[in-house]
Symmetry: D3
Subunit: 266 residues, 6 copies
């Protein structure tokens, strides 16, 4: 059991899910966000902090033996936003980890958008080359690289989870392939903290979908077997969402709509 688990971005959708369900993992849960965390429950600590503020981030990280890093910018945005939250912010987080009195294990919320420009007709695994689909995706490539370096050089273990479509239900045709249920996400995080030796793996965050695109066989040692399946929602989606044409980015690329976004200018 962990002594202190930090959940960043704890006011976001996934952060809140982690807050609600990861209590059994640690004696204390430290919750980080810029705002909106409400009141601390028993065994919770609340830290308000901007990821771009190095001193504050290092203080937030100090003393935590586990980190679930859901913080940062979670969709495409102008460069300054991405750079501050996902590049400077992540550097600050790892510097905190390096300097901390205890060496934390980290779950890094990477994204399928790190490989978004591969075609859906191509299956990917952890060794597939990255093909980011926007500035957000490039920031995730940066993050996986940073995690790799802190592992090789300082022994900090990170699981980079390339999250697919993590929503209550899959809600479009692409999500029949990319959906990650909340329960499967939580089970994955538990596995990551339970395995005696983690190393620095890349893991695709998708449920056990019939139409899955990603191959996690290389990380069998983690012991994660997702149980949910987007196929259960196919009829509902077919009935309510127009099927994209074969030339639509939604149908062509792993990254879907992100592949069609232009650079967001300030």
């Amino acid at each position: 059991m962990l002594k202190k688990l930090l959940i960043t971005g704890a006011n976001g959708q996934l952060g809140a899910e982690c807050r609600a369900k990861l209590k059994p993992l640690a004696e204390t849960i430290r919750l980080g966000a810029r705002h909106g965390l409400g009141e601390a429950a028993p065994h919770e600590e609340i830290v308000y902090c901007d990821l771009g503020d190095k001193v504050a981030v290092e203080a937030m990280v100090e003393g935590c033996d586990g980190i679930v890093h859901m913080g940062g910018q979670a969709i495409e945005a102008p460069w300054d936003t991405i750079r501050n939250a996902n590049i400077d912010g992540l550097f600050n987080l790892y510097e905190g980890a390096r300097k901390s009195s205890v060496k934390p294990r980290i779950v890094f919320a990477s994204s399928n958008h790190a490989i978004g420009f591969h075609r859906q007709t191509e299956r990917l695994d952890a060794k597939s080359p990255t093909r980011p689909d926007g500035l957000y995706g490039v920031s995730k490539v940066f993050g996986e690289g940073l995690a790799s370096m802190y592992h090789d050089k300082f022994g900090i273990e990170t699981a980079s989870v390339r999250i697919g479509s993590c929503t209550p239900e899959p809600d479009n045709h692409r999500a029949l392939s990319t959906w990650l249920s909340y329960d499967d996400l939580i089970r994955l995080i538990v596995c990551i903290f339970n395995v005696p030796r983690l190393g620095c793996p890349i893991i695709y965050g998708a449920s056990n979908n019939d139409a899955g695109l990603w191959d996690n066989r290389e990380v069998g040692y983690i012991g994660w077997q997702p149980r949910d399946n987007a196929e259960a929602f196919r009829e509902k989606i077919e009935a309510s969402v127009p099927r994209p044409s074969g030339d639509d980015v939604l149908a062509l690329y792993h990254g879907g709509a992100f592949c069609g976004h232009d650079i967001h200018e300030d």
Copy 2:
């Protein structure tokens, strides 16, 4: 939903199965064969046509947005038969598709006999080299090549399904590995018409058999998960069919008995 689905070879075993079960896929089902199609049911159209007759084939294909091509010669035969039905006939079909007022998506009934001379001790996937086991198998290699070219050059999408042993039940030891149930075949065809972007994949047509030889992981995006399993028939087969010796073509090669056939002379 398709406007008009053409099923060729509709008087054959698999064609009849498709006729019976694919109705929900299309507003109209056009059935093609040389003879023996009986009376048209509601929403059915019947076309009698020899695949070697280019004008007739092009007329049959015109206006169909989906084609399940079960027609042609389905077992080893003299060259003239194979050539007329599976080489000239397939060229005629694709020319019909190219010239049609609507661009059809095609299911091409390829065969395990395109890779029949690989050893059963070797697992295959879609990238394994072809090793046809007779003139019939060579005609399927030709067909997959033709489909590939019409896709690259004209954008016509085809799923080449290398059908294993598609029978009501597996009925010999090799079929414990190669069996494809009728239900799994139908589910596969439905998946092929449902996926927004098909591309031009090669798919092994086998059920979820414990002793399977073929790996479809590269086409996970199709969303097809076969449900039947030949293992359920193992006891019955062991009780009724002599187990082949280890030096028998039935035990040595993916293609089984076809590997032992001589060239069929006229």
Copy 3:
């Protein structure tokens, strides 16, 4: 059905399991060991024999059309012990097979210790290079090589089963990955004797564990689908066994504790 199945090491844990459950495979079971086999049951024959005694081994093997070779030294030991039982002994067994009046099919109890020094963060299959973790593991590399040569040169088929942790229950964290249930072992042996053409495969002997490390997809043709799963015992293990640290050989290597053993001197 086999005429005569030889089970060596029949007084050991796995040998006894085979003795109890493999009866349906053969008309007669011949049991071999140095001692301790009790009374022969109906359809059983008992042969006392040291594997290092070439004449005795050849006599024991004569006339058997199946061999389950569980005999030999099963854990790390001084060189003379390993050499006598696993190197000389195995050579004697294969010479017996070569000279026998019937050509036997052989199950060779190899071991995960043939690949023990690979990291647990790396997934292995039958083509992964060997990395033995001690003299015992080196003797298994020798044995797999010997089996390969007798197959290529003399047509004797062997399944080299790299057994994981074959115990009634998984009893430590590593075994959550490496456990092989007795039932899955027995089912595997049955499959090996049933497949018409075996060849000379390497098979990882592990149950269907959520946290499995080994990939058997290349031997799908055997038809073995393990059914048990060590995950069912995770809670019990977590409650009763201290989790190893990430730098412990138990957490680092496929071979676990064997990787930490020094050479056993006489």
Copy 4:
């Protein structure tokens, strides 16, 4: 040394080159074409024959222990032309080989157009999937499949040579990658007839070009090391041929201009 070497298409460019330079390979050279072979030199035999005429082809092949098959249709053409020369014609040739009183070794002039729709930015080897770029290319896929089957089933050895751009000099930018000098072609054919065991390899026919696209390392056992290099002609080409734009099929695809041809209708 061969007894009798058949060169088909001996009136074509490559056939004539073979006629001029392969004399040392055989006691007798039999030359086949539809017309235009002039007078037979000493040790030459001339046979006029249409590849579509089965009886004539079988007679031409009878008694030859080596065949260099340069005959057939060598560029894109209407279907009937391709089908007659490259499909029916090749079947006739192999039937002749099968029925002949001596088993010939065959050099089959396949073509880079069997893989023409791969991108030039992608390196290919013999295991790369075929992607034919027209009816001509599809006929070469057919031919390689036919050769494979006659090897597996009847033991007839064929080298399928995917010829690049075999001309006196490379004469455009793509040929800097795809050029095969006449001398390298002749050396290759000599190697093919000298190796004691040929099997049924696919070999890319290109010289040792700095900008080469194809990898022949799998066929090192043939002993062919091409010596010419298109780079010697780069300056001349840059000075005389406009460099294609990056979106031109000449720059995009292995098959170059063929990828832009429409189907040739009669």
Copy 5:
């Protein structure tokens, strides 16, 4: 021939080399640096500019159809330095390229430090996973990701050259493997601008060293065959530089000394 080639970092060692030797590539050479460019020669333009200044960078890039980006921070440094020059600076460069009136082709000076933590006993190619060896290396992973995205999304072609040890002579044992001569670098840049279709390749920048570690076979289409060989300097190095011990980072890792550097704090 290019209209206008921008060389950034033109006052650095490699930039100066490019300035001296790339004149034949373009009608005009625009030289960029923060300072120290001396006087413009005929056909040269000089632009002083900080890479972190977005407006200035976009102005510098405007109108150039080729860019050799040697600018930025070239060794390990504190985060702010790396971030400003190699992350913000590179983003500014690509935004300039995207907005420019002509679409430039870019040579990006990436580095072996993007893969520095792989062991020297392991050979790498362009598909090997990145393993950066410091903040500098991570910034190169970021840069390659950015280049990939601007290619997939906006069609801007980049060659990411993972430069080894680009010095007048190899001067230590590791450089016997990693040396890139100035002449080979220049020849590579010429090839990159000459190939009609570049795509977005990763190229290892090393000469034809006997002890090379990197495999460029996937980019044969570029036509670059390095001609120099560090082996010519082996005796001199052995005589003047102490051979590192086998446990030294110089001997263990592709990245050499960088793997031993701590994070540079401001």
Copy 6:
């Protein structure tokens, strides 16, 4: 420079070659054999010793920082001979290395007969599965496994050199592929002792033959580029040695004649 280099089997053909040419590598050369070493030259030490004598072997190894192990049984032989020299003997050598006051680096004379039953039409590299072609080949598989284990467990570095046909000249058709010149062997050994970090590689010992079968690209870091080429002897061989038929083991398998030998009985 080494302090003391042990050459075992120094009275054999290759051992004598090493004795003559490796002097520059070490201050002292210790020569081991059972007999026939003549007089010690300056800087030479002579040790007579049977490899099966553990005490004697350990004394021979003590104090050597380099070992070229050419000793042992070098061709097929009865089991007792192989076992004593190549199994017990090699164990004794590594135990000597483990117990020695200095940790030696070892060149182990493995053999192509460790992979001899692969077909010549198949190219091999260090990761190809072993397929030994006799008891001798099995002993080499054992030896490579032993070397791997002493490296992983005790840090002893070994280069396992799978020697092809090491003779003054290639003298048959297979040797056109497998020949290793004496000079290339010596250069290889020098490289092995010069590289700062060796690890535990498998290296194919063959010259730069046009018809080579083996791929050493994974060990580029060693810096060995063989310079001789068996092709220079092709005419001589063709003139003096009958070309084997395609069904001869000489033409079929990497191991050549060894694949045809029966077990040598005492």
